[in-house]
């Protein structure tokens, strides 16, 4: 049974004033696949994730996420995607538990799930301490919990392993790794690592898709060329 692609972008364009952040990006990601996105800073990787997350509306071109057209049907899709961004999107003055409970209430998720996640990433012991006392690695672990709290079908991960030591990375892997039929879009600065965990690779430069191929067919050296 051929399922509809999880993501279909056709000529997606997003401007910032007179500058073009995304320029005619076309890509199709099948359900359950992982797309890795490479590119230098300012290439448009974060913008792409934010458009997919329905936080930014496309200025031109078509975008369909989980079968819904953006921006018109964005509201229908929000509950099914999880974003892990550069900013952790947590309130420093609230405790870890309070932060997760806030998100749980917003998403209509049972409290128990928040507790289970805290336990899983090893933050249960410090769940009642304010987030601004946490190390950056702990904040990242909590942010992962926030992103997957509502068990989304589509994960949008902006350098997910940043700030995580190998032990922490191993803890979060089952939550954000490929598996359970999740579709993922991951940005990465690590060519070999990124390609290894992906099905599809997209290379962006100055908002344009310079490279789009099956990850298995891409040589890490080609990724290096994007950065020059």
């Amino acid at each position: 049974m051929a399922a509809a692609p999880a993501i279909e972008l056709d000529g997606l364009t997003r401007r910032y004033g007179e500058r073009v952040a995304l320029d005619g990006v076309t890509v199709s990601v099948p359900a359950g696949a992982t797309l890795v996105v490479f590119g230098p800073n300012g290439a448009g990787k974060s913008t792409l994730l934010r458009v997919l997350a329905t936080l930014l509306r496309p200025h031109a071109g078509a975008a369909r996420v989980l079968g819904r057209a953006l921006p018109g049907e964005g509201w229908a899709v929000r509950g099914h995607l999880g974003l892990l961004a550069h900013e952790p999107l947590l309130y420093g003055d609230l405790t870890a538990r309070e932060n997760l409970r806030f998100h749980a209430r917003l998403h209509g998720v049972a409290r128990g799930r928040a507790e289970a996640l805290l336990e899983h990433v090893g933050l249960a012991a410090r769940a009642d301490e304010r987030v601004h006392t946490f190390s950056r690695g702990m904040v990242q672990r909590l942010a992962v919990c926030r992103a997957v709290l509502h068990e989304p079908e589509l994960l949008l991960l902006d350098e997910p392993r940043a700030h995580l030591d190998p032990a922490a990375a191993a803890l979060v892997e089952p939550l954000i790794g490929a598996g359970d039929g999740r579709t993922r879009v991951v940005t990465s600065h690590d060519p070999s690592g990124g390609l290894a965990e992906a099905d599809l690779a997209l290379g962006l430069r100055a908002g344009r898709a310079e490279l789009l191929r099956r990850a298995a067919d891409v040589d890490p050296a080609e990724i290096g060329r994007l950065y020059r």
């Binding site: 329905t54 509950g79 974003l83 900013e87 998100h103 209430r105 917003l106 998403h107």
Partner: protein
């Protein structure tokens, strides 16, 4: 949606209780302003329209402080994104913020109004007058809260946030000042209080309704991209 409003409001109140910034500053500012009025007006007691004026100017300027800070925590922590990602009507954020600002204003008034009565008010108000004062406060606060939320959301994304909030909000709040001052003047009259002039109460209610509708229609455009 009420679940979302509840979650958001709870978060606002938790944040303020945990790290009190807004309410103490507003309360302290009100009392300081009353002292400044004493020296600026060179009076020990005020009554009638002067009393109403002093009270409303004090409350209004304290409200400007609160409005400037209303969206700052969200803006700094990237928090609006977290809300925007949730499958929730954006109006929930508007309702929650208005309710939060209203709660902050009420908390400040618990300090400012007694301070005003003690420091500057000549005629001592009776229970009936207090009740009527509370009614006017409620209506005026609703107007200030709605306009404040709209202006706060507009200003938080700008670079000169603390300057823009009073510049935008004060002209927009003049009808509230007009209605509230005229409505409370008879309550502070020297020769015994008069009744509540309904015309001004009606103006306040009309303002609340109009700006409520405006905010409802326009708020989404301020938070969405």
């Amino acid at each position: 949606m009420s679940r979302a409003v509840g979650a958001l409001l709870r978060k606002e109140l938790q944040l303020e209780l945990r790290a009190p910034q807004i309410v103490p500053a507003m309360a302290l500012f009100s009392v300081s302003t009353l002292v400044v009025f004493h020296f600026a007006l060179q009076r020990g007691q005020v009554a009638g329209d002067l009393a109403a004026g002093v009270l409303w100017v004090t409350l209004l300027f304290a409200a400007m402080l609160g409005t400037s800070r209303l969206f700052v925590a969200d803006h700094e922590e990237g928090g609006l994104d977290a809300f925007l990602l949730a499958p929730v009507d954006r109006t929930a954020l508007l309702v929650a913020k208005v309710a939060a600002l209203l709660a902050f204003l009420a908390a400040v008034e618990l300090v400012a109004v007694p301070a005003f009565a003690i420091l500057l008010l000549g005629p001592a108000p009776s229970a009936g007058e207090l009740a009527r004062l509370v009614a006017v406060l409620a209506l005026a606060d609703a107007g200030i809260a709605v306009t404040g939320t709209l202006v706060g959301a507009l200003a938080v994304q700008t670079r000169a946030r603390d300057l823009l909030v009073p510049l935008l909000a004060l002209p927009l709040l003049i009808p509230v000042v007009i209605g509230a001052a005229k409505a409370t003047t008879p309550l502070f009259a020297e020769a015994g209080a008069g009744s509540l002039p309904l015309r001004w109460v009606a103006i306040l209610a009309l303002y609340d309704l109009l700006f409520g509708l405006l905010a409802y229609a326009l708020f989404d455009f301020l938070v969405e991209d």
